[in-house]
Amino acid sequence: MQDNLMKVQRIEHGTVVDHILPGMAFDVLRVLRMSNDRSMSILINSHSKKGGKKDILKIEDVEISAQEASRVALISPQATINIIVDGKVVRKFNAEAPKVVRGILTCSNPNCISNQNEPVTTEFRLGPDDGHRYVCSYCERDIVDLAKRVRW
């Protein structure tokens, strides 16, 4: 394929977040709190070499930290992070889902005490099984529709 026909150009410096669950790229941007003035490319429902679909995010001139990557893993646990310098991948790692999340999420149970006007920080713990579920430390319910529960 000629360069001028490529869907999205490679980046020289920055971060590529690959293997994002299809349709979740904008949610990933949201949890990374990326401002609109950044230069970035977003691929939605791109074909994966491993089969199926994925989203890809290319953010120029930003190297996201392991802590920021863990926020990505909250909503897209299979995502991989590639740090690009001078057009080459200098570091590649899997985002690791945090075991405890404080303050970033809100509980999906409207009757949870953490959703009332109380001076508390929300807290969720990663469930012990492989289901990638987060349990509210207050009401003990699983959080539902996690991506929508991330605070700006």
């Binding site: 508390v120 207050y138 699983d142």
Partner: protein, 304 residues
């Protein structure tokens, strides 16, 4: 500091310890002996929701142990109506008492209270969440009435979705090695996480929609209230409520030694004719709230 928030915080051994201690409290709870174990101590019972048995049995338990009780039932005459947070109310009340018993309509309220209280907090029911002291008194009743806490077939009957007592009871009973049958109307089934837990433990028996299906193989029939407000159609409510009524006819098809329990209040789930039958244990169960709560108060306040 010891809080009592969720029955999941208790190991099997700790539950047995509470039940043994409760056994020692029975004669005091009956007024046949007296105790000064908690003399000079104060219990705050703060109830943001209606309650009869839970509040009165906690107050009785504290009085029987020689202590005093402060508190409120309903928020009309408190600063809560002025918008005071639960956090501030608990912080203030814990300065007046040696332990706080809390009932609140929101799930997780008791856990929140532990973060602001300077004294132990006992959860007396938080929304559709936990009600650990009810579970403990249910286990105490089962052990007293059957002589054991394992190897029983227990049928939970009624609203298993919203009934707050049955979730933690089912899990606790499974931990002790009992088989749990789940009998509920469509739409009011046990939540998936509880059913999965029971299945994982190998303790899930029959899940069905009629008590008739399980009665012949039931050692304990634990009935719960089916709330009218869960049904948009009153005719449908009447039909379902009729199917789940425990009466002498249903009990006649159960095995010898079957007992009937209910956390109360009951409405129509158990007909009054059952009250005089030897199977009826729900008023004994209501009394057992006192020795079990005495045991817990002696542990959290008295350091026993």
């Amino acid at each position: 500091m010891k809080h009592v928030i969720s029955v999941h915080d208790f190991s099997v051994e700790e539950i047995v310890e509470v039940l043994d201690r409760a056994e020692d409290m029975v004669t005091i709870a009956q007024g046949k002996a007296t105790s000064d174990l908690l003399r000079g101590k104060v219990l705050a019972c703060i109830f943001f929701e209606p309650s009869t048995r839970t509040r009165l049995s906690f107050e009785t338990a504290m009085n029987r142990l020689g202590g005093g009780v402060i508190g409120f039932a309903g928020t009309d005459a408190t600063s809560v109506v002025k918008g005071e947070t639960l956090a501030d109310t608990v912080r203030m009340v814990s300065g007046y008492a040696d332990a706080v018993v809390l009932r609140h309509p929101r799930e997780g309220a008791a856990k929140l209270a532990t973060e602001f209280s300077s004294v132990p907090v006992v959860n007396a029911g938080d929304g559709a969440g936990q009600h650990p002291t009810q579970t403990l008194l249910d286990l105490f009743t089962i052990r007293n009435e059957t002589g054991r806490l394992e190897g029983l077939n227990i049928s939970l009957v009624g609203d298993l979705r919203y009934g707050r007592t049955v979730h933690s009871l089912a899990i606790a009973l499974a931990k002790f090695g009992n088989t749990i049958n789940l009998v509920s109307p469509e739409g009011l089934e046990m939540p998936g996480e509880v059913t999965s837990y029971l299945r994982g433990m190998g303790m899930l028996g029959v899940a069905c929609h009629s008590p008739e299906e399980v009665i012949a193989d039931t050692d304990i029939l634990y009935a719960t209230r089916i709330q009218k407000e869960r049904f948009p159609d009153l005719v449908e409510y009447e039909r379902v409520a009729g199917l789940y009524r425990v009466d002498p006819d249903l009990l006649s098809r159960g095995p010898a030694g079957l007992i009937v329990m209910h956390p109360l209040p009951r409405v129509n789930e158990i007909t009054p004719e059952v009250d005089a039958m030897p199977q009826a244990k729900y008023f004994v169960q209501a009394f057992n709230a006192v020795p079990v709560r005495m045991a817990l108060l002696s542990m959290v306040i008295g350091g026993q």
